[in-house]
């Protein structure tokens, strides 16, 4: 396990928390983009709830990452003042809301993963992370249920909705493996007991997703994982093209007023 430079710092766990925090932050940001554009007003309310849960997970995770890093960075410094290559979220969460089916596909695949992850992290040796995970697992239970219901409605709805849902799964599927792939930071956190090895979450994810797809009458896409250049992806700071636009929008005001309080 790598340790940080000062008392109470822990660079490996900080890096791990940054990955979790960035996943939640970007997943929440994408979900919030849909608010005012949902297919029905009730769904605007539902998606806003989900976005708020994700943002509520991201904030303490980023705050804790900053503390363990020991360089004085708080949640806003981390969210607003890092450049694209410093973001460690997996690529799945940054995929754009091409249509409602794409939103739901991303939401399903991610919430099935995050639900298993937080269930395991409730036993983290980092108390803050264990606390966030204990709360998040309940939220993720609901997210997974929400995503599953919509996947079934769209898959088992009309011809058009089934085709759109299948296309959305195809677009998201190549980014599934990345969630379950440990990098050295994740492995170190897993070894220390602060984190978990995501590979171990895969069987539970497979059975949860397969059950939803079966009920929806959809097939598991037969697509290989998408390899980034040199095998690098979001965990290495190499993102999809749309991510730069997301960050530009998210960070613009904060960066335009250096040092200002809000």
């Amino acid at each position: 396990m790598t340790t940080g430079t000062g008392p109470g710092t822990d660079a490996a766990t900080a890096g791990y928390l940054l990955r979790l925090g960035d996943d939640a932050l970007i997943a929440g940001h994408r979900m919030a983009e849909v608010v005012t554009r949902a297919p029905q007003l009730e769904e605007d309310v539902a998606l806003a709830n989900i976005a708020l849960d994700l943002l509520g997970q991201a904030r303490p995770l980023l705050t804790r990452a900053g503390e363990l890093e020991g360089e004085g960075r708080d949640e806003d410094t981390l969210a607003y003042l890092r450049d694209e290559p410093e973001f460690r979220n997996c690529l799945l969460v940054e995929l754009p809301n091409t249509d409602f089916a794409h939103t739901i596909a991303r939401h399903l695949l991610f919430s099935c993963y995050a639900r298993e992850l937080y269930a395991a992290l409730a036993a983290s040796t980092d108390d803050v992370l264990a606390g966030v995970a204990g709360k998040a697992v309940k939220e993720l239970d609901y997210h997974r249920d929400h995503a599953a219901q919509w996947t079934v409605r769209l898959g088992d709805g009309t011809e058009e909705s089934a085709a759109r849902m299948a296309a959305a799964l195809d677009a998201a599927w190549p980014h599934v493996d990345e969630m379950f792939t440990a990098d050295p930071v994740i492995s170190a956190a897993a070894a220390s007991g602060a984190g978990v090895d995501p590979a171990g979450l895969r069987p539970a994810w497979d059975s949860a997703v397969d059950a939803v797809l079966a009920e929806a009458g959809l097939h598991r896409p037969d697509l290989p994982p998408q390899a980034g250049p040199g095998g690098r992806g979001g965990r290495h700071g190499l993102h999809t093209q749309s991510f730069g636009f997301l960050l530009a929008e998210m960070q613009h005001v904060h960066r335009s007023h250096p040092g200002a309080a809000w």
């Binding site: 029905q40 009730e42 309310v45 539902a46 249920d145 219901q149 409605r153």
Partner: protein, 94 residues
């Protein structure tokens, strides 16, 4: 409009020990969907511990015109209320 999702009435139990109370309505395609929407719409501020959704079309209501025949006959049955009875001074717990 017939093409849209049906209307559901929503009842929320604010906390254990209280009965479910009507809070409003919403539109949803099916019962599971209605339950999700009810949770998201009517319990954002911890207003409830339990939710019922009922298809609005399934509710049979008394008509306001029937108020006289339905409810007024109870007017003169004052003996149903404890205050109707005289209790001698000094008798407690009755």
């Amino acid at each position: 409009m017939s093409g849209e999702w049906p209307l559901w009435e929503v009842f929320v139990r604010a906390r254990r020990g209280l009965s479910h109370t009507h809070v409003g309505s919403l539109h949803a395609a099916d019962a599971g969907h209605a339950l999700h929407n009810a949770r998201d719409l009517y319990t954002r501020r911890q207003e409830g511990v339990s939710v019922w959704v009922v298809p609005a079309a399934a509710i049979t209501a008394s008509a306001p015109e029937d108020k006289a025949s339905f409810f007024d006959p109870a007017d003169d049955k004052v003996y149903r209320h404890p205050t109707f009875y005289e209790v001698p001074e000094g008798v407690d717990h009755l």
